[in-house]
Symmetry: C2
Subunit: 315 residues, 2 copies
Amino acid sequence: MRSEFELIQNIKDGYSLRYVGDDCAVLPQNGEMDLLMTADLLVEDIDFRLEWTTPELIGHKSLAVSLSDVAAMGGTPVWSMLSLGIPEHLWKSDFIDKFYEGWFALANEFKVELIGGDISRTPDKLVIDSVVGGEVAKGTAIVRSGAKPSDKIYVTGTLGGAAGGLELLENDARIGDIASQSLVLSQLQPQPKVVLGKLLQSQHIATSLIDLSDGLSSDLRHICDASGVGAQIIAENIPINPHLAAHFPPEKCLEMALNGGEDLELLFTTSEKISSYPDSLQFTHIGEVTANVGTIELSVGGESCRLPPKGYRHF
Amino acid sequence: MRSEFELIQNIKDGYSLRYVGDDCAVLPQNGEMDLLMTADLLVEDIDFRLEWTTPELIGHKSLAVSLSDVAAMGGTPVWSMLSLGIPEHLWKSDFIDKFYEGWFALANEFKVELIGGDISRTPDKLVIDSVVGGEVAKGTAIVRSGAKPSDKIYVTGTLGGAAGGLELLENDARIGDIASQSLVLSQLQPQPKVVLGKLLQSQHIATSLIDLSDGLSSDLRHICDASGVGAQIIAENIPINPHLAAHFPPEKCLEMALNGGEDLELLFTTSEKISSYPDSLQFTHIGEVTANVGTIELSVGGESCRLPPKGYRHF
């Protein structure tokens, strides 16, 4: 069965689509700015479960994932369109009002304006399509295809927390449980790295950039495929979410940091030393771009092995 | 239970949304053009039934409804983002390829480029969110709020065909049945009136404009509410789809023309005589704008009655 990535590639090739294949489409807007466009579809019982979260947090997360796509181009989010497919039992409750409260709390933080969308009924499941429009100075969007051999590979923040939170939720942890709170909120209330993305753009630091929505192993693969390069990363250098160790054995923590998506951290490559930049403490050097096209190697304890892409896939 | 219109009004008022409330949001793009943005969410078993149509026609219609929103501002559609929530049984079939064939057939007709979107799995139902971006010369988008008392009210084409087709499909008519083909295709393959919308914009004919997606009685109400006016329309002047008479009694045909949505015809008001314009034969004069704020009167056989909004509502 083909994956969704194969379908998208088939459609892109078959219909000669110029703008498909990065975190956002980059469209000419005017003499100074490009328009960034992204869409994220979230489906109940596939992308979230009502019993694990709150209406406010679903509102937050549905916008956060799209803001993260704009961050992954180095852009500034400006407006959003929100389409909601709502089952009748939620329509009759106060769910929708609370959903909007969570959505607008995040939107206001980034001065994102809701400009439209659509509302439909669904037979039984909640469906959310989050579309965000952003902008970036003309020609300066940071795409996936700019990585060059010998560039250094960096990530922001720590990885694996959202995957750990998901596993705890699947094992009956709930919001409010003190022991699992940090990881559960990593899953349910991820923070888009808009400020860091803009910093990378304004300082001309990054040669390529993507957000870690599928997982490091998959998203690094996307950069390598788009740039026509390979990569080598060092397991010991990966900033594993420190809260994971209290719940999972070390090899499981590494696996979550490598393959868990949804942290909404950023992955980027750079040809420079970035230790001199402000906020550089939030960036961790995890490896190098190589000329070994299409091959991603993981070094663990000095031993090198191939790293297959294992992030979340719908199909 | 509140309607979706009430929810949208609540959200618009509660969060001071400037761009919500017309067929498209109108955003500044550059010195010459405004950007038009619209979204339409289509849900299986709510907005369409797989057993009544074909994958290609679902592709066609999901784009057509959004192109119609751009037409309803007098704009030119330029690009689209398409988010698909797909159940596994359709993913495993050739459904998606055929869907895109139908989608691109219409997109190519209007030179609309697919720039992005998202693909997710759904538990069981197909969900489509169609987002279209268009453009219009700065400050010239035709909004709903410009109707003035004594303006004349016009519609394009004929009305009620899509509603008639829906009722025939509900009564087991199918694509290919000769007797019902025209009406069934009015429902399944509506044609957006992009060329007529652009004509209205370029000739500065219309004082207000909307597409008939909810139904004449509802959409005329939207214009009256936005413009702070009333309206009087003459039943005998309404261009009822001529194919309806073979299947339904006269009063049912009128009811379908008044309350049936989805024909994707245009409804507009004008202060001018339009008989001198090219293509004016496609416009039918059905009534007048009045100063009787909030009241829509229907004259039938010389008798006047109030016309309540009765178009399709999700809630």
